[in-house]
């Protein structure tokens, strides 16, 4: 038996496109707007969410038969919150500059709807191993959108990728200026909208019937 069965592979791959948490389920939009002004925080935020979704799915799924349904949301919150605090502490200890940039948004992973959504929809009814993959898959689905939006915003908003100037000085001398709109959260929403549009034009089954 291989480690990743075809069923588990589907759990990993589906959230990338047809079940993407951001563009199809419209979850986690709030943080997608906030941390995507530059590429680096977007990448770190993506990684942190992958870790938190994967491990909270794993833990909740392992506990699922002993969690009293009446307090299940509280239990989920406690697990997610402690994961997030752990991630925050680790970032602060080992990648201090990034943790400074993300500041409050790491804490806000707790309120990221993707995590609670996956816990309720998947981890509470499935075995730990598939839940773990479901968590990773959804985390990656979220991270991919963040990275695309972050890349576009940094190129047009600051003329750089990961802090390295890519728009040559001669452009600026010729009168090109960085688009200040790109730095505003509004443009992140517009970009997510454009991504949804492109995705739907390739996947007709995502379009709602009249």
């Amino acid at each position: 038996m291989s480690i990743i069965s075809s069923k588990n592979f589907k759990l990993l791959a589906n959230p990338l496109n047809l079940e993407n948490p951001v563009t199809v389920q419209i979850l986690g939009i709030c943080s997608a707007l906030a941390v995507t002004t530059k590429l680096k925080p977007a990448i770190v935020m993506g990684l942190s969410v992958i870790v938190v979704t994967a491990f909270s799915n794993l833990v909740i799924s392992a506990m699922r038969n002993s969690i009293p349904p009446r307090i299940r949301i509280i239990v989920q919150l406690v697990v997610v919150a402690s994961m997030v605090i752990l991630v925050d502490q680790l970032l602060r200890a080992f990648v201090y500059d990034v943790s400074k940039q993300l500041s409050v948004y790491v804490g806000l992973i707790i309120t990221n709807c993707i995590i609670m959504g996956r816990l309720e929809a998947f981890a509470m009814n499935n075995k730990p191993w598939p839940s773990f993959f479901d968590g990773i898959g959804n985390g990656i689905g979220y991270a991919v959108i963040l990275i695309v939006v972050g890349l576009i915003r940094e190129i047009f908003g600051a003329g750089a990728i990961l802090g390295y100037q890519v728009v040559p000085q001669s452009f600026y001398d010729a009168g090109y200026i960085n688009n200040g709109m790109m730095i505003m959260p509004t443009m992140a929403l517009v970009l997510v909208g454009v991504i949804i549009w492109i995705q739907r034009s390739f996947n007709k089954e995502l379009i709602e019937k009249e």
Partner: protein
């Protein structure tokens, strides 16, 4: 769906909370030395930056030992206080005390040409959260040698620009006193400051509130050092 008794629910929650608390406090204790080290390095880098010495995370501690040759704590009359390590004084805590009880740190940097620069920490409120920084003065205790500002969460591209070089550079060479005794601080002017104005720099367009907060921070923090500046200059 299974039915759980109230006793079970209570026991479950209590055990869960205790386990989580243990895990988190263990992690916090294990990681604390690393985090403190990071904060210390950042502070050293900031102080070095204010005397225009560029440092990296790796060489900050060595450079700090090389360039910062003295540090001491003052009271609000400008008298030196013995027995307190200036580096451990947190301005955040000091500003919440009454003015007479505050400990005001000064760091003395000795530059490559053997002249001194006097570094004073700053802290204030920005638009969304705290802003802080360091300003260094030439031995006349009047002319700005260098500045560094940072912030917690000012608007990227607008208020957050206070931490960039183009905003900080114009402070160099500005003066704090008019006619040698009148403290005027440095104004951050919307619409641009005149180049020859010795007490003003350009504000950030779109970052008006942060610019004004920074001006207030300079004024309120530096005026506490006024007695010290005047005494030391006359010595």
């Amino acid at each position: 769906m299974k039915n759980f008794s109230n006793t079970y629910i209570f026991t479950f929650s209590i055990i869960m909370v205790v386990i989580v608390a243990l895990l988190l406090s263990l992690a916090a204790m294990q990681l604390k030395p690393f985090q403190d080290k990071n904060i210390e390095i950042e502070k050293k880098q900031n102080i070095l930056a204010s005397i225009r010495i560029k440092s990296t995370v790796k060489d900050a501690v060595d450079l700090y030992a090389k360039y910062i040759t003295d540090s001491y704590v003052l009271n609000n009359k400008g008298e030196k206080q013995e027995g307190i390590d200036a580096f451990t004084v947190e301005l955040k805590n000091e500003l919440s005390k009454p003015a007479a009880k505050r400990m005001l740190p000064v760091y003395v940097g000795t530059l490559d040409d053997q002249t001194n620069a006097y570094v004073v920490p700053l802290r204030g409120k920005g638009l969304w959260g705290p802003i802080w920084g360091y300003i260094s003065l030439q031995p006349d205790m009047n002319t700005v040698y260098g500045t560094v500002f940072d912030h917690q969460g000012e608007t990227p591209g607008l208020g957050a620009e206070i931490s960039t070089e183009w905003f900080q550079k114009p402070f160099i060479g500005k003066t704090l006193f008019k006619d040698s005794t009148q403290f005027v601080s440095i104004k951050v002017l919307k619409g641009g400051a005149k180049k020859e104005d010795p007490h003003a720099v350009d504000a950030i367009s779109g970052g008006t509130i942060t610019s004004k907060s920074l001006e207030a921070m300079l004024d309120s923090c530096l005026i506490q050092y006024k007695p010290y500046f005047i005494q030391t200059r006359h010595n």
